[in-house]
Symmetry: C2
Subunit: 197 residues, 2 copies
């Protein structure tokens, strides 16, 4: 049975691991490094996680919960128009990445690139996460079409997938250029695609 | 002085390394693994490359030359319209990734994600490569505008950057889903953005 102290250690390990993996990749982050930075003993790590893969999946879950806690209050806000929701999403993540000096990128995109050819378990989980993010955008696009903010010929699910994919691509370029410009450019084209007459 | 055999060994190392790095990432690929697969001695590796970073940069150069040898004959073909060039680009890479079972992704995108926070040398090189790819697309977009195939209100350099970034994002999703669908969806929106009235 895991007591409160055990749960706190588990969360601490996940948070330290998330930071390291987000920064330098999953394969490039050894358990020894995580333990050292977290100041936690090896036995405690293996008490909470069967192996590094299980740990990585827990880190991914933790990251998705943080993403949800940012996106849901925006996308679920009934007082916002669809355009306002997309604008608020863009502004919020621009602020987050500006504070990180345009480093890190999106952990989901990073792990897509790094893990999807070498771990079917990661791949399946990341695919479900991307579908869920796409679904969140789809709902906003449907709202925008219903309220005549957006072009009615759009197919919400495909438009949403393109928005998510192009956002991940813009984050890649942001990381390389260390600049907000790719994200700003992304938003220009998002409006162009959705709002066009 | 490097003799022909030395040059052949160097190219062999680069080709084996390119395959491994493309497949499993730079940090995840040890020199020992490359040497074993290439059946080359350690001394020979260090005769040709000062360190693993220098090797990685040579692999990137090699990959860019391969990309150029695919893209230039299409984009420089004076008999093709701008739409035909983009269609031929899309079809060619779709074929390449289909043959790879939608694995690997783009080495430039992969290394953007993996290296741009941890190696300024890689980052600078990748940024220049992405700018050069963007410039190639920009020329095609300018042709399309001049020939009234594309919307004249487009700003070629920003449209080109968005095309490149969204293509890299589509390749990420392709790798996760192991499907052509994200690339097909990318091309639908490329046409939507460029050809819209």
């Amino acid at each position: 049975m895991v007591d409160n102290k055990g749960d706190a250690t588990k969360l601490h390990l996940i948070m330290v691991g998330a930071e390291l993996i987000h920064q330098q990749g999953f394969n490039n982050t050894g358990i020894a490094h995580i333990l050292k930075k977290a100041e936690v003993a090896k036995g405690s790590f293996y008490f909470h996680f069967t192996d590094k893969e299980a740990f990585g999946l827990a880190v991914l879950d933790h990251y998705v919960e943080r993403m949800k806690s940012i996106i849901q209050p925006i996308f679920m806000d009934d007082t916002l128009s669809a355009v306002d929701k997309l604008f608020a999403f863009h502004e919020k993540f621009l602020q987050i990445f500006t504070e990180l000096n345009f480093s890190h990128g999106c952990l989901i995109g990073n792990l897509s690139q790094e893990m999807s050819d070498i771990s079917p378990v990661f791949s399946k989980k990341i695919s479900a996460i991307l579908n869920s993010l796409t679904f969140a955008f789809q709902k906003v696009i449907e709202q925008g079409i219903a309220n005549k903010e957006f072009n009615s010929t759009l197919e919400p699910v495909y438009s949403a997938a393109f928005l998510v994919d192009s956002w991940e691509g813009a984050l890649l370029r942001m990381k390389v250029q260390k600049s907000a410009q790719p994200l700003e450019n992304w938003f220009v084209f998002v409006k162009e695609i959705l709002i066009k007459k």
